[in-house]
């Protein structure tokens, strides 16, 4: 009865923050068909992961790569030879946040809900298939529960994949959020597992290093802007030929009528009582 022998290896690299670690543990809890592995040193090459997967008899892999103790990247891959995707993980909220009020059976099978945008582009279609195979709990898995009481949503907004996990409270569709929550920003898709030719590269992806650099260099732009502004003023001001030559002695004997006085000049004619 248990035919779909899919197993997912979920592990991380060294240098992962507490939030990333909790996210990884939440995913392990939610997926009964997952296997864990100790932290891998980032010095090793990525194709070593394929060998680890083979040793553990896993066909899929979710690998969290942490860099600079700030950025969290996630690899999703179909291990022997299938495609793999690298994401930047943003906006992580774990299951243990007190605002997530829902709860579900441990190991129950989820409903997977996809946005309609997943059928529009080929790279989204590929991603959808990969997600279904990784996150879908196999039917009649020994550690799974027979009830379907929660639903995963994957939506596409702003060229990113948003993940939410809701508990089904009533049959009419009232839901409570269980968590975790995260946003995946796709970077690249590869033909092979953790390597191979690039199938797709996200043109709108900006690496977090670049974003930080842009923020830091904003201060430097001030000086450059000021120089440019000065230059443009000189240009606009004009040279000697096209400006009207004014004689300063013209203004010495200027008198105005009392009616035409404005502002402070009025004091010369009218007393402030």
């Amino acid at each position: 009865k248990w035919t779909n022998r899919n197993r997912v290896l979920v592990f991380s690299s060294r240098g992962i923050s507490y939030r990333g670690r909790h996210l990884m543990n939440d995913l392990r809890k939610l997926m009964p068909h997952s296997k864990s592995e100790s932290k891998m040193d980032r010095k090793d090459q990525l194709f070593v992961i394929n060998e680890i997967c083979e040793m553990k008899n896993c066909s899929k892999c979710v690998y969290f790569e942490a860099k600079k103790k700030e950025d969290l990247y996630m690899w999703m891959s179909n291990c022997p030879r299938g495609p793999s995707v690298k994401f930047l993980v943003e906006n992580v909220h774990t299951m243990s946040e007190l605002k997530m009020t829902g709860n579900c059976l441990r190991g129950s099978r989820p409903l997977l809900s996809f946005d309609q945008d997943f059928d529009k582009e080929p790279h989204w279609k590929l991603l959808k298939e990969l997600i279904i195979q990784i996150f879908g709990t196999p039917n009649h898995h020994p550690k799974s529960q027979p009830f379907v009481d929660h639903v995963y949503t994957f939506s596409i907004t702003d060229n990113r994949v948003w993940f939410r996990n809701y508990q089904i409270l009533e049959e009419d569709g009232s839901l409570a959020e269980i968590g975790p929550r995260f946003v995946l920003n796709p970077i690249k898709m590869f033909d092979g597992s953790f390597g191979g030719t690039t199938l797709y590269q996200n043109p709108k992806y900006v690496s977090p290093n670049e974003i930080r650099r842009m923020y830091r260099s904003r201060g430097a732009q001030k000086y450059v802007h000021r120089l440019n502004a000065k230059k443009s003023y000189e240009i606009r001001r004009g040279t000697g030929d096209n400006t009207y030559k004014s004689d300063p002695t013209d203004e010495v004997f200027v008198t105005i009528r009392p009616e035409d006085a404005e502002g402070r000049d009025k004091n010369t004619f009218f007393r402030n009582t």
């Binding site: 243990s96 997977l112 590269q201």
Partner: protein, 301 residues
């Protein structure tokens, strides 16, 4: 300028040749005229290589697709479910509007649930956990207790704030009512005095207004009511006033000043100006003197 088109951001201050610079500025002007330039810093990103191997992806998809039945995969693709009538906020498809975004995800999940549950029930898979089925949950009972406590705390703080607001409104209303009552009393008093004056002066014949007197149940009549908190004399305050009020102690002040010598409050002229008059009845009852008593003693027998 492809990278500029995709990002809409342009960098200033880079070392460029003059030809490139003029072209850049011309592009900028066009973009501004077309309204494509957004406010803020514009940065030119380095030209990126675009890879979109559609054929490769399609082939890969075909290769690794496992065409299992729906019951193994449980996937659904939906548009968000129609929103409740009051919550329609279409057209605000902004990522940064948290509320509408989360609402959209919620509605997508709802649509899936509404479609998925009948399908599951058709395949004889239960979706509701029976009441007596106890199994390990994803979050521990302890954690759920903490969640419930937090929710309760929030609810209680809301209730408390509501109560305080209501009390404040009530107090304001009460104050207004009190002022009105005081004004009414003053007006009635004035009217009464006017009527009495008019009657005395003979402008008003009738004395009916006395019948319209309010019953004196308002004034505290007995000593107990008078000595309420409002009317009680503060002994301490009285003492302090006597000791320090109006210039302070008189005990050790000067005794033989011009004002004290000219002070005639101890002089009662009536004591010395009175003429001798008839002895009063009291005088008549007074006991006679010794000689008179001696004389009358023997006379009595």
């Amino acid at each position: 300028m492809n990278n500029l088109a995709t990002d809409g951001k342009i960098l200033f201050g880079r070392e460029e040749s003059s030809a490139e610079e003029t072209e850049l500025f011309r592009y900028l002007q066009e973009a501004f005229a077309a309204g494509r330039l957004k406010p803020g810093l514009s940065v030119e990103l380095p030209a990126k290589s675009q890879v979109n191997n559609v054929a490769g992806m399609k082939q890969k998809l075909k290769e690794f697709q496992n065409n299992l039945e729906w019951i193994e995969r449980l996937d659904l693709t939906n548009a968000p479910a129609p929103a409740a009538p009051g919550m329609e906020l279409e057209g605000e498809d902004d990522v940064h509007n948290d509320f509408t975004r989360e609402l959209r995800f919620y509605r997508q999940a709802q649509a899936s649930v509404l479609e998925g549950i009948p399908r599951l029930q058709a395949l004889d898979i239960q979706t509701k956990r029976p009441e007596d089925y106890f199994a390990e949950m994803a979050k521990s009972d302890d954690h759920m207790k903490r969640v419930r406590e937090k929710l309760l705390e929030k609810q209680m703080s809301i209730d408390r704030r509501e109560k305080v607001r209501k009390q404040r409104d009530l107090r304001k209303y009460g104050k207004k009512v009190q002022q009105e009552v005081l004004l009414k009393r003053q007006k009635e008093k004035k009217e009464m005095l006017e009527s009495v004056k008019r009657y005395r002066k003979g402008q008003q014949d009738k004395i009916d207004f006395l019948n319209d007197l309010d019953d004196k149940s308002e004034k505290p009549r007995n000593k107990q009511q008078r000595d309420n908190k409002k009317n009680r004399i503060n002994k301490k305050r009285e003492f302090k006033n006597k000791k320090f009020g109006f210039g302070g102690q008189k005990k050790r002040s000067k005794m033989n000043t011009a004002s004290s010598a000219g002070d005639m409050s101890d002089f009662n002229p009536r004591l010395h100006q009175k003429k001798a008059g008839k002895p009063k009845a009291k005088m008549a009852n007074k006991r006679p003197g010794k000689s008179k008593r001696m004389k009358n003693k023997n006379k009595k027998r």
